[in-house]
């Protein structure tokens, strides 16, 4: 009895898109970033070279690319590598990373938390516990404030 007879399609318009002052991030050419090299990482894992696999998987992060598949593949690969570590080796591996890699690892850990699968959260929590003393809360702040992330 009180049905609006005029069209209400205007309610589905996202007005923020048309705001001329809308903040748009700068475009950084990210088309060449393919993410870490899967073949290389798999080879290192098969050889049992855990630390090497970790360093390899943290190379070439797909930060600037808009391709969601690349980002998903990279994230899965990282979780795979992190899961194949023994608990006692995690601390040494983290100690071998430099500052930028520690920040990047923290970003991947939180990305892994977003899409949990099987045992991944438990493993990621162990890594998080070991990365936190090295990176400090500052590394977590950088995960939260990063405009372009993995």
């Amino acid at each position: 009895m009180s049905k609006a007879t005029l069209s209400d399609r205007f309610r589905k318009v996202d007005v923020d898109e048309y705001d001329e002052n809308k903040f748009v991030d700068e475009e950084d050419g990210g088309e060449n970033q393919g993410g870490p090299d899967e073949a290389e990482v798999d080879a290192l894992l098969r050889q049992g070279n855990m630390n090497g696999a970790l360093l390899a998987v943290l190379k070439n992060p797909p930060i600037n690319t808009k391709n969601q598949n690349v980002k998903d593949r990279a994230a899965m690969l990282v979780v795979k590598v992190l899961s194949s570590f023994k608990s006692s080796d995690i601390e040494k591996a983290v100690a071998s990373l430099d500052k930028a890699s520690v920040d990047l690892l923290m970003k991947y850990i939180y990305r892994g938390f977003e899409k949990p699968s099987d045992n991944s959260s438990a493993v990621l929590l162990q890594w998080h516990e070991k990365v936190l003393p090295v990176g400090g809360v500052g590394s977590i702040v950088r995960v939260l404030t990063a405009r372009k992330t993995v």
Partner: protein
């Protein structure tokens, strides 16, 4: 190190007068209160009530003894002391969002106001019409200006903004000054010209500060980094990603050392090495924690077990720093930015602390202030 608790509310902003006998601060409301030092106590001597919104910035010009305040009501007032009473003069800023920060220029003939309208208002006094006029710097600012700092040459202005960049603009007003000479930041300085812009990404730039000579510019960002840029070498910006929570304010205390403070409630020292272009963490500046508690009685042990399921004493419950909440502003008291001997911090706990650099240097073993 003397800590004085003014209020229970946060101190939004503060400013000292020339001889540090009086401090003007905003107790998180629409007013500005001026307190005068009375031996060891502070007594309130003036209340400046004119703003309709929270006062977000105060600056006290040391030579001409004028106070400029800006607020969330989109206005700025210049206060002059007449017969022991502070009288306000409205400044038309022509902004449609709140004003966020205000700074007198070193020669006190103009001041700059940063606002949420994505522009900076440079205001100067026009003698013929007997009022304050402003000019805007708009391009290429894309978001709120959070902090401002003037270069010693009275023309260049550094602005930290929410669009993740720190910039240096020229605020040259030909009506009040002559053309400035060339500086490491550039030689052509028409009004509104941008002479430096930091890389994007990272976080909101909370605070900017020029060094005493004006050749170095430091800023802190919300992604827990501190950065220093040198004029002329615009390609090289040294940044340090810290392991602490974001820093909200920074100031130079010598040409190569900076003190910054923020959400971690204690000031931190950073040392910049110009030759290597590196910025390193110098140390945490704070009163050392009181001696550890003596032995714990059996009764306390069981009480702890009952309450916290652990026998130890929860030493993390209380902050060991002087400030009990985030520090939002830092200002140099004595010695200027070249050889600072004392600086002051105010924070969200309503307290103000005056830090003595010599005492800090002596008490912290590894501290080196270059």
């Amino acid at each position: 190190m003397s800590y004085h608790s003014f209020l229970l509310e946060p101190i939004s902003c503060h400013a000292w007068n020339k001889d540090q006998s009086q401090i003007a601060l905003c107790p998180n409301n629409h007013e500005v209160h001026i307190y005068k030092k009375d031996g060891a106590k502070w007594t309130k001597v003036h209340e400046l009530k004119e703003h309709n919104g929270q006062v977000t910035g105060i600056d006290w010009a040391p030579e001409s003894n004028r106070i400029v305040t800006c607020g969330a009501d989109r206005n700025a007032y210049v206060w002059t002391l007449k017969d022991g009473v502070w009288k306000p003069t409205l400044v038309i800023l022509r902004i449609n969002r709140a004003a966020r920060c205000v700074r007198w220029a070193p020669r006190e003939n103009k001041f700059a106001v940063g606002s949420g309208s994505r522009l900076i208002s440079i205001c100067y006094f026009e003698q013929e019409n007997d009022w304050w006029v402003c000019k805007h710097i708009k391009k290429p600012i894309r978001s709120t200006i959070l902090s401002l700092d003037w270069h010693p040459n009275n023309v260049l202005l550094a602005a930290g903004s929410c669009d993740f960049k720190c910039r240096v603009f020229s605020a040259y007003i030909k009506e009040v000054e002559e053309k400035p000479g060339p500086t490491p930041w550039g030689s052509k300085m028409p009004f509104g010209e941008m002479l430096f812009e930091s890389g994007g990404g990272g976080g909101w730039v909370h605070s900017v500060c020029f060094s005493h000579s004006g050749n170095k510019l430091a800023w802190t960002s919300h992604d827990s980094t501190v950065s220093v840029a040198e004029g002329g070498k615009s390609a090289t910006v040294s940044s340090l990603s810290s392991e602490t929570l974001p820093l909200l304010c920074v100031t130079f205390i010598t040409e190569n050392s900076l003190v910054a403070a923020g959400h971690d409630c204690y000031p931190v020292l950073f040392v910049y090495d110009g030759a290597k272009g590196s910025l390193v963490f110098g140390g945490k500046l704070d009163v050392p924690k009181q001696s550890a508690q003596k032995g714990i009685s059996a009764r306390e042990r069981f009480q702890n077990l009952d309450r916290r399921a652990s026998e130890g004493q929860g030493s993390d419950k209380e902050l060991s720093s002087l400030h009990k909440n985030s520090i939002s502003q830092i200002s140099v008291l004595d010695g200027g930015r070249a050889q600072c001997t004392r600086f002051c911090t105010t924070g969200m706990d309503g307290g103000m602390t005056i830090w003595d650099v010599k005492t800090l240097e002596n008490s912290m073993k590894n501290l080196k202030i270059v």
